[in-house]
Amino acid sequence: MGGRIAVRAKHVRKMYGAGESAVAALRGVDLDLHEGSFTAIMGPSGSGKSTLLQCLAGLDRVTDGAVEVAGQLLSDMDDRGLTALRRVHVGFIFQNFNLMPTLTAEENIRLPAEIANHEIDHTKFDQVVDRLGLRSRLGHRPSEMSGGQQQRVAVARALVNRPPIVFADEPTGNLDSNSRTDLLEFLQICVREFGQTLVMVTHDAFAASYAERVVFLRDGSLVHEQSQPTPDEVMDTMKKLEG
C-alpha cells in the first residue's frame, strides 16, 4: 500500500432538492483511494453508495466539500474539463453494461479511443481481448451475446485505454454466478497486473470480498472499514448495519 492518492474525497456532502424537501445523500464523507488499490463501497439500499461513486467519478457535482481525481480538483472543472478527464483518466463499468446496441463488440471496445481521437494500443487490445476470452465474439452485436459476455465487453471497453482509475457500479448485478466469479477474478488481475485503481460499488458480499479494502456507508456517512475480508465477515458487517 502507500503510494500516491488516486482519488480523494474531503468532507463531501451531497443534497438533493432544496428547502424543506431537501434530502442529504452524503453527509460529509472523507475517503482516500491509493493508486493501484481495489476498493469496494458497500452499504444498504439508500445509504448513498451510488451517489458517492457518481461524485468521485465526476458524473455529479458535490454540494459541499471537494473531490480530487488524479490530483485535479473536480469542482474547478467545467464540462469541457470533465470530458477531458474522462477521456484520459477514467473508465466505467456499468451494471446494465451500457453497450451501444448498433455497434459490434470490437467497435464498442474501440469506442472510447475513437471518441477521444486516440490511437488504440494494439498489444493492449489483444491482451485484454484474449484475457477476457472475447476473441471469437468481436464481430457480434450486444443483442447476440449473453449477459456475461456483454459485461466482459464492457470491461474490455473500460480497460483497453489503460485509464488509471476504473469505476464499476454493481458490475456483477446482472450476471449469473459463473460469470460473476470470472469477472471478479479478472478485475483483481487488472489491479495486480495492469496497476489500475479500481473502485466498485456493490451490495454483494461475495463480490466485495475480492477487494483489498471494503468501506461501509450508512445514511450518507462512512461507518466502517475492513481490509481483505472474507465474504462472511462482510456479510456480518452488513447485517449489523442493516439491523
Partner: protein, 822 residues
C-alpha cells in the same frame, strides 16, 4: 381504459404536440385553399352578374377574319324588342409612352358600348377622347385629364387623345388580362385597323326570347348569339386562372400536405407506442382486451386530431382572409367583402384533419394490440425491430416496375392528355412501391451517404449513421415525408425548365435575331427609313443586321410582295444557281413556286404600279426570315430607288446584355421613335415569367409540405433522443463532449436529409422529364442541376436545423443517468 387513455394523454401529451403541429399545418392549408377557391368563384359570379346587368344579348364573331358588319347591326336594330344595339370594335393598338416610343405592354383597343363599366369620369364623347381601364391608367401613369398618343393603324402617324374616364374590366377576358383603351367606334376603327365588329351588344327585354329572335334575323353565319349572362360567364373564365382549375390544383397540394402530415403522425404514434410497450402489456395483463387497447390509442389520436384541426382551420381561414385582398385577380384587387368562408369549408377541413390523423394512427394502434401480455414480465428492453415481411418487398418491387412501365409506355406513345395521366399514374405507383420498399433500401442508401460522414466525423459520425438506420421502418417514414416535397419540387422545376428551354430554342429557330424592327403602320406605304439600317450596320456591338424591302405587286389578280433581302442573314439555296441574283432574275420559296406552277428556268410576270416586270426563276430558297419572291438588292434599288425597309433584323454577340443591346437599337431608331421594336428577349422573358410564376406558386406550396416533413424529422429525433437517454449519458461517461453529442445528432439528421434529397431528386427528375416529354414531344429536356443541387443541400441544412432542438435536449441529459437502472 378511460383512465389509461387519460393517463397517456397526461404523460405523453407534450410528445404529441409535434404530431399535432403537422396536422395543424395540413389542415390550415386545406381550409386556406378552400377559402381561396370559394372566393375566386364568388368573385367570378360578381363580375358575371355585373356584366349581365349591362347587356342582354351578345352576337360574337367566331372567326376573326369575317367580322360582323354594319349591315348585321342594322338587321339587329330592326328586330322586335331590341332597345339598342352597338357594335364593338376591338383589336391591337400601339400606344406611345412618355418617351414617344411604343410601350412594352400594349392595352387592347376597343370601342365603348353599354357593356363598358365606367368607374370614373365619362365615356368618350368625341373621337378625340378615350377611356382607360383602371390598371392601364395606373401602368401608363395617365390619369383623367392627361393626354395619350395612339398610332394610326395604317399610316403609323401618332394621334392625340384626352383621357376622360376610367373603366372596370374585371372578368372581361382579354381586357382583364392586358388592360384596355376605350374609344369611339370611329377612333377604334382607325387605331386598330379593324373594318368590322367583333361583337354586337344588344339591350332589350327578356334575353332568352330576344336571343332567339336576333339569331333568326341574322340567319346562320360564323358567329354565336348568346345571352348577356352566358357571354359574361365565358369571358370571366378566360380572364386569367380558371377558378375551377386553380381550386383543383390547390386542393391537390393540400392533400399532399395532409399526406406528409400523415407520415409524421404515423411515425410519432409508432415511436410513442414502442416506448409504451411495457405499459400496454401491463394493461393487457390486467385484463384489457385488444379492442380496448386499440380504442384507447385511437381516442388519443382523435383528441390530437380534433384540437389540431380546430386550430388549423382557424389559422387557414385567418391567413386567407388577410392575404386574399392583396391578390390581384383579373385586373383588380379582390375586395375583402368577396372573401367567402362557407360552413362546408369549415366542415371539410376539420374532417380532413381528424380523418388524416386518426387514419395515420390506425397502423401503430393495430401494432400496439399485438403486444403480448408477457412483455410486461420481460422488463424494459428496446422494442424489437419489426421484421420486414417478404410480401412487402415483393409488392414494392411489383409496384415500382409497374410505375416504370407506365411511364415508359407514356413516353413512347404519342398524344397529350392520356399519356400525361399515365406518367402521373406511373409516378404514383412508383412512389407507393418506394413506400413499401423504403425500410429495405433506406439502410444501404444511408450507409453509402453516411460513408463520408463516418470518415469526417469519426465516432459521432459512425454512431449517427448506425442510429439513423437502426429502426429502418422509422427511418424510412421520416425520409419519405421529406421525399414527397423534394420530388414534387424537382419534378415541377424539371418540367418548367424544360418548357422554358424549348421555347427559347423555338424562338431562336423562328426568329434568328435578337430584335425585329418593323414599320409603325401596316400598309406598304409605311416603311422604316434606311438610316436605321445604316446606323445599326455601323454600331460595333451589332453582330448581324439584315433588312427586307418590299413593294406590293400583283401576279394575275392576286396581290403579292416583291422583296429583296440584304445583310448578314442569307437564304439557303434549295435548288438552282448560287451566284448573286442579277437583273431580271428571281428566287422563290418552294411553296410559292408550287403555287405559281413555276420551275427553275420558267418566267413569271408581275405588275407593280401598273408596269409589267418579267422575271426568270433561277433558284429556290428557304430559311428564316426569307420572303417568298426575292430579287437582287442592286436591281431592287434601280427599280424602286429610296424605298424604305419593311423589316430590319438585328443580332448581337452573346456577351452583350439585353440592356446594352436595347440601348443600341433605341439609339439607331432615335429619329423614328414610332417604329415597332420586338425583342426575342421580351418574348423569352414573358414565357419565363409566366412559367416562373407557376413555379414560384408551386414552390411556395411545397415549402409547406417540406416544413411539415421537417417537423417530422425533428419529431423523430426528439423521440429517439428520449429513447436513447441512457446511451447519450453513457457516451458522455466514455468521454464524448457535449459538442460531440450534438454533432452526432446533426449528422443523423443530415443523413435523413441527404438520403431524402437524393431519392427525391432522382424520382422528381425522372418523372418530371417524362412528363415534359409527354406534354411536348419536341421538348428539350433540361435538367436544372442548380435547382437540384440547392434542393439537396437545402434538405441537408434544413434537417440539421431540425436537429438543433432535439440535440439541445440530448446534451442536457445528466451523465449520471448512465448509471441508473431504468
Amino acid at each position: 381504459m378511460r383512465r389509461l387513455f387519460l393517463a397517456g394523454m397526461r404523460a405523453y401529451g407534450r410528445r404529441l404536440v409535434l404530431a399535432g403541429v403537422a396536422t395543424l399545418i395540413g389542415t390550415a392549408f386545406v381550409a386556406g385553399t378552400l377559402v381561396i377557391s370559394d372566393t375566386m368563384r364568388a368573385n367570378v359570379e360578381r363580375t358575371v352578374v355585373g356584366g349581365a346587368s349591362r347587356i342582354d344579348v351578345v352576337v360574337a364573331t367566331t372567326n376573326r377574319l369575317t367580322p360582323l358588319t354594319s349591315g348585321d347591326l342594322d338587321r339587329i336594330r330592326a328586330v322586335d324588342g331590341v332597345v339598342s344595339a352597338e357594335g364593338l370594335v376591338m383589336g391591337d393598338v400601339v400606344v406611345l409612352g412618355s418617351n414617344g416610343r411604343p410601350t412594352s405592354e400594349q392595352p387592347v383597343g376597343f370601342s365603348v358600348t353599354t357593356r363598358t363599366d365606367v368607374l370614373a369620369g365619362h365615356a368618350p364623347a368625341s373621337d378625340g377622347e378615350v377611356l382607360l381601364a383602371e390598371q392601364t391608367s395606373r401602368a401608363l401613369d395617365r390619369p383623367i385629364g392627361s393626354r395619350i398618343e395612339v398610332l394610326d393603324f395604317e399610316t403609323g402617324a401618332a394621334r392625340q387623345f384626352v383621357v376622360t374616364g376610367l373603366a372596370g374590366v374585371a372578368g372581361q377576358g382579354q381586357l382583364a388580362l392586358r388592360g384596355g383603351i376605350g374609344m369611339t367606334v370611329a377612333a377604334a376603327a382607325v387605331t386598330t385597323g379593324q373594318s368590322g365588329f367583333s361583337e354586337i351588344h344588344v339591350r332589350g327585354a327578356d334575353p332568352e326570347s330576344l336571343r332567339a329572335r336576333v339569331g333568326a334575323a341574322l340567319g346562320p353565319g360564323p358567329f354565336d348569339v348568346s345571352t348577356g349572362r352566358d357571354h359574361a360567364e365565358a369571358q370571366a373564365a378566360s380572364s386569367g386562372l380558371d377558378p375551377a382549375v386553380l381550386g383543383t390544383g390547390l386542393v391537390t397540394f393540400a392533400l399532399v400536405a395532409l399526406l406528409v402530415a400523415g407520415f409524421v403522425i404515423q411515425n410519432t404514434f409508432k415511436i410513442l407506442l414502442d416506448r409504451r410497450t411495457h405499459e400496454l402489456a401491463l394493461a393487457r395483463c390486467m385484463g384489457a382486451s385488444r379492442g380496448q387497447v386499440f380504442r384507447a390509442v385511437l381516442a388519443e389520436s382523435a383528441t390530437v386530431g380534433v384540437i389540431a384541426s380546430l386550430l388549423g382551420t382557424a389559422t387557414g381561414v385567418a391567413v386567407a382572409y388577410f392575404t386574399l385582398p392583396l391578390i390581384e385577380v383579373g385586373g383588380a384587387a379582390l375586395p375583402r367583402s368577396v372573401v367567402t368562408v362557407t360552413p362546408l369549408t369549415l366542415l371539410v377541413s376539420l374532417l380532413a384533419g381528424v380523418v388524416a390523423t386518426v387514419a395515420a394512427s390506425v397502423g401503430p394502434a393495430r401494432a400496439a394490440t399485438r403486444v403480448s401480455p408477457v412483455a410486461a414480465l420481460r422488463g424494459i428492453s428496446a422494442a424489437p425491430v419489426a421484421r420486414i415481411a417478404s410480401r412487402r418487398v415483393v409488392g414494392g418491387v411489383v409496384l415500382c416496375v409497374l410505375g416504370l412501365l407506365s411511364a415508359v409506355v407514356a413516353v413512347a406513345s404519342d398524344g397529350r392528355m392520356y399519356p400525361l395521366g399515365l406518367v402521373g399514374l406511373g409516378g404514383g405507383l412508383f412512389f407507393l412501391g418506394v413506400v413499401l420498399l423504403g425500410p429495405v433500401v433506406v439502410g444501404p442508401i444511408a450507409r453509402i451517404v453516411g460513408f463520408p460522414v463516418t470518415r469526417l466525423l469519426g465516432a459521432p459520425g459512425r454512431l449517427a449513421v448506425a442510429n439513423a438506420v437502426r429502426n429502418p421502418v422509422r427511418a424510412a417514414t421520416t425520409v419519405l415525408a421529406l421525399v414527397i416535397g423534394i420530388t414534387l419540387t424537382t419534378g415541377v422545376s424539371v418540367i418548367t425548365r424544360s418548357l422554358t428551354s424549348s421555347v427559347d430554342e423555338g424562338v431562336s429557330r423562328v426568329v434568328p435575331a435578337d430584335y425585329v424592327i418593323s414599320p409603325p403602320g401596316s400598309t406598304a406605304a409605311s416603311t422604316i427609313p434606311p438610316r436605321v439600317f445604316g446606323a445599326l450596320r455601323s454600331a460595333p456591338e451589332v453582330q448581324s443586321v439584315t433588312r427586307v424591302r418590299e413593294v406590293s405587286a400583283t401576279i394575275g389578280d392576286s396581290p403579292v410582295q416583291l422583296s429583296t433581302i440584304e445583310g448578314t442573314l442569307t437564304p439557303t439555296v434549295a435548288a438552282g444557281s448560287t451566284a448573286p441574283l442579277g437583273p431580271g432574275e428571281v428566287a422563290l420559296r418552294p411553296e410559292r413556286a408550287a403555287e405559281l406552277g413555276a420551275e427553275i428556268g420558267d418566267k413569271i410576270r408581275l405588275t407593280v404600279d401598273g408596269e409589267a416586270i418579267v422575271l426568270t426563276v433561277v433558284r429556290l430558297i428557304t430559311g428564316e426570315p426569307v420572303p417568298r419572291i426575292v430579287i437582287g438588292p442592286g436591281w431592287f434599288e434601280t427599280l424602286f430607288p429610296d424605298r424604305g425597309d419593311s423589316a430590319v433584323l438585328v443580332g448581337f454577340s452573346s456577351d452583350t446584355s439585353p440592356e446594352q443591346s436595347r440601348a443600341v437599337v433605341e439609339r439607331a431608331t432615335a429619329q423614328d421613335p414610332t417604329v415597332r421594336i420586338v425583342s426575342t428577349y421580351d418574348v423569352r422573358e414573358r414565357v419565363a415569367a409566366n412559367l416562373g410564376q407557376a413555379t414560384a406558386m408551386v414552390g411556395a406550396l411545397q415549402a409547406l409540405a417540406m416544413i411539415i416533413a421537417l417537423i417530422g424529422v425533428a419529431n423523430t429525433l426528439t423521440l429517439s433522443v428520449l429513447e436513447r437517454t441512457r446511451e447519450s449519458a453513457t457516451l458522455r461517461a466514455l468521454g464524448m463532449s457535449a459538442g460531440g453529442l450534438r454533432t452526432m445528432l446533426c449528422a443523423e439528421a443530415l443523413v435523413f436529409g441527404v438520403v431524402a434529397g437524393l431519392v427525391g431528386t432522382v424520382l422528381g427528375t425522372a418523372f418530371g422529364a417524362s412528363a415534359a416529354r409527354v406534354i411536348n414531344d419536341d421538348v428539350v429536356v433540361d435538367v436544372p442541376w442548380d435547382v437540384i443541387a440547392i434542393t439537396v443541400v437545402g434538405a441537408g441544412v434544413a434537417t440539421i436545423l431540425a436537429s438543433l432542438l432535439p440535440s439541445r435536449r440530448a446534451t442536457r441529459v445528466a451523465v449520471a443517468v448512465a448509471l441508473t437502472d431504468e
